[in-house]
């Protein structure tokens, strides 16, 4: 009897660390071989990259203890045996990477805008935030505040967008593009599915035209042709022109992503909403769009990440974003030849932002349980 009641533990080989290892890394011989190979590669690579980026690297001073002011003073240029990365270039140029050529006396405005951006994003990112409603009001008025803060007006001295650069431009382009493209994209997606032929044709035409043209072409269009269409005397700011191009581009892609979500909603949902006597807008806002957007989260984040990285293309119209500042630094005779450090830093910054976005989309998917509800598990 006793033997019957004894709880038998699962075999050692399927639980704990050993079990995990067996199932995930050494399941069969090909699996084991690949695991060993990957471990070998990491063993070769990780010590080297750690040594280069941290242990042998110069941050502010070289190995002689002097403060580095140009590339000749980098340890690896003084003595190739004695140095890794020369991060001093990032240290010296940090201001430019983050703010571009924004005047130093006014830079607090950019800092305030950065902090406010964080507060504006908070209620969007974290639904359980206390007083979320009030934070959301702030989010809605944030673009207006940011405009006056960064550009000037309302008592602030004007700072021409020509002086903006670095991360500031990257964030302005990325955030504005993504934020504006979302509502425009929804309208375009609804428009394309509309039963009114004129609206549907116009939306289709717009989307197909924009999608059929590379972003570079649109940027050139914005930069070169837009001013020719404007009446004389109206001088449209260069950054605004680029923003227009980026927003148009992103909204066309966003429209298609959301249309994909709309297609996936079963007709029963439309019929149910209509049978309750809902108007077109109420049906879409309350029934259809919440579901459609929920299932489109992964592709929405996907195109947003794509746009964030595409903002680097603005260098071809002469706007110095984060990457542009990096290239400008490489052209300074003091810092010639430090391309590894600069590109490493720029990619790291981009990685932090894009990785953050992708983790956030995973969190959203889990929270909204997209798969289960739609029966698409």
């Amino acid at each position: 009897m006793n033997e019957m009641n004894e709880v038998r533990k699962p075999p050692v080989a399927t639980t704990g660390i050993i079990g995990w290892l067996r199932i995930n890394l050494f399941f069969n011989w090909t699996n084991s071989l690949i695991t060993l190979f990957v471990i070998y590669c990491l063993y070769q690579f990780i010590p080297w990259i750690l040594d280069w980026t941290i242990f042998s690297a110069d941050f502010k001073y070289n190995y002689l203890g002097e403060q580095i002011t140009n590339q000749e003073m980098c340890s690896r240029n003084l003595d190739p045996e004695n140095g890794g990365a020369c991060w001093a270039v990032i240290y010296v140029r940090f201001y430019q990477f983050i703010y571009g050529f924004y005047p130093k006396v006014e830079v607090w405005r950019v800092n305030v805008a950065y902090v406010m951006l964080a507060f504006a994003l908070l209620p969007l990112l974290y639904a359980k935030l206390p007083y979320r409603k009030y934070f959301l009001y702030f989010t809605y008025i944030f673009p207006v505040i940011a405009y006056f803060l960064l550009n000037g007006g309302l008592g602030f001295a004007e700072v021409s967008t020509n002086k903006w650069g670095g991360l500031l431009v990257t964030l302005v382009l990325g955030c504005t593009g993504i934020a504006l493209a979302f509502p425009i994209g929804i309208m375009l997606a609804l428009g394309r599915r509309s039963k009114l032929p004129v609206i549907s044709m116009m939306c289709t035409l717009f989307i197909e035209f924009i999608r059929g043209v590379p972003l570079i072409t649109l940027l050139f269009f914005g930069m070169v042709m837009l001013p020719l269409f404007l009446p004389e005397g109206i001088d449209m700011d260069g950054l605004v022109r680029v923003l227009v191009a980026v927003t148009l581009f992103q909204s066309a892609y966003m429209a298609e992503v959301i249309r994909g979500g709309l297609q996936a909603i079963p007709p029963g949902q439309y019929e149910a909403a209509k049978s309750l006597g809902m108007s077109y807008w109420r049906m879409n806002l309350l029934i259809i769009l919440p579901q459609a957007i929920r299932i489109s989260i992964p592709p929405i984040v996907n195109t947003s990440i794509g746009l964030f990285k595409d903002t680097t293309l603005v260098i071809i119209v002469g706007i110095l974003d984060l990457l542009g500042i990096g290239r400008g630094t490489l052209a300074d005779t003091n810092w010639l030849g430090l391309s590894y450090e600069i590109y490493f830093f720029v990619s790291l910054v981009f990685f932090i932002f894009t990785f953050g976005m992708s983790r956030y989309s995973l969190y959203l998917e889990k929270k909204l349980k997209t798969g289960i509800n739609m029966g698409a598990d």
Binding site: E72, D332, T333, N334
Partner: protein, 334 residues
């Protein structure tokens, strides 16, 4: 593209040529000058975010001529593709963007090159270990070459003329050429000599690389303005000339105050002590004095930005004064 550009140029011209650029600049209170997005020695932001370089000095010189203040200039970054539309549409008042003066740009695009501030030319760079001392010994070499540029055509011409063969390794950017050469994937890298110098300076060990003496093309780089506004063209032209003449006359930013009491008539005319040349240009009479005082003469700008004491180590060569074996020559100041 070219046709399209000239249409833009014409349209933009119709919009912008009615008022004098000089008046526009004066009313605006600062000069808008188009520069590169970053080219070593010519225009690049320094650690304080100030633009520095030979072309940047050119912009500042014009700002000084108009306003007497070297800070009254806004640098607009332009790329090889966007520079001409930007100038044509009136977004910048002038370009100082190491642009080669060619007939089609001068005539067909509707621009006016006002002078040359750097005589460049296509050259070759090889590892010293290759053991060649002249480009004519490069038979059978693998050459890194930027595709779609005039350098590609010049290269083909040069090798055909000398009856030697080469293998091209096409690349897109200067960075790529540098990496390929340093990694030994090509024996020779060819581009403009100033570009070779910056590539060499960026090498881990510059002494291992050699720039061969042959220069196989003419690349006169200079500032340009829109066609048709001659008054403005004159301001930019003579801002450059004033710097060259100052070098000829031995006037530097150091001694310019002492030179005001010089007994050389041309120095007195240049510095505005005699004559009313500033008035003719609708500038203040000490405009050239201010340029020399605040920017320096041509030699000072050259030495500070690209000269032998900078990492670029570009010898004066063609850019020396005509009296010193170069071809730098400015019309007389009278």
């Amino acid at each position: 593209m070219k046709k399209l550009l000239s249409i833009f140029a014409v349209v933009a011209f119709a919009f912008s040529a009615h008022a004098g650029t000089l008046d526009d600049v004066k009313n605006r209170g600062f000069l808008k000058c188009g520069v590169t997005t970053g080219l070593a020695g010519f225009a690049a932001p320094d650690d304080n975010g100030e633009w520095a370089g030979l072309d940047a000095d050119m912009c500042r010189a014009v700002a000084v001529a108009v306003f007497g203040d070297r800070s009254k200039v806004e640098f607009i970054t332009t790329t090889g593709k966007s520079r001409f539309p930007t100038l044509a549409s009136g977004e910048v008042d002038m370009l100082a963007r190491n642009t080669t003066w060619t007939i089609s740009r001068d005539v067909n695009l509707g621009f006016e090159f006002v002078g040359v501030n750097f005589y460049d030319g296509q050259g070759f760079m090889v590892p010293s270990a290759l053991g060649v001392s002249s480009a004519t010994e490069l038979d059978g070499a693998t050459v890194c070459i930027q595709t779609g540029t005039t350098t590609e055509l010049n290269l083909a011409d040069f090798f055909r003329l000398n009856g030697i063969s080469y293998e091209a390794l096409p690349i897109e950017t200067n960075d790529e050429g540098k990496e390929n050469l340093f990694a030994g994937r090509c024996d020779v890298y060819t581009t403009d000599a100033s570009g070779l110098s910056s590539t060499r300076a960026a090498a881990p060990n510059p002494n291992k690389w050699l720039v061969l003496p042959e220069i196989i093309s003419k690349e006169p780089l200079g500032p340009l303005v829109r066609h048709g506004d001659h008054q403005w063209g004159d301001v930019v032209r003579w801002s450059l000339n004033a710097m060259i003449i100052a070098e000829e006359l031995g006037v530097t930013s150091e001694n310019v105050d002492a030179q005001k009491s010089s007994n050389v008539p041309e120095v007195l005319r240049l510095l505005g002590v005699e004559g009313n040349y500033g008035e003719m240009l609708e500038l203040s009479n000490d405009w050239a004095y201010q340029i020399i005082k605040q920017i320096g003469n041509y030699s000072e700008s050259y030495e500070a930005n690209v000269g032998p004491d900078t990492p670029l180590e570009i010898a004066r060569g063609l850019n020396a004064l005509w009296t010193q074996g170069g071809i730098l020559y400015a019309p007389p100041f009278r």
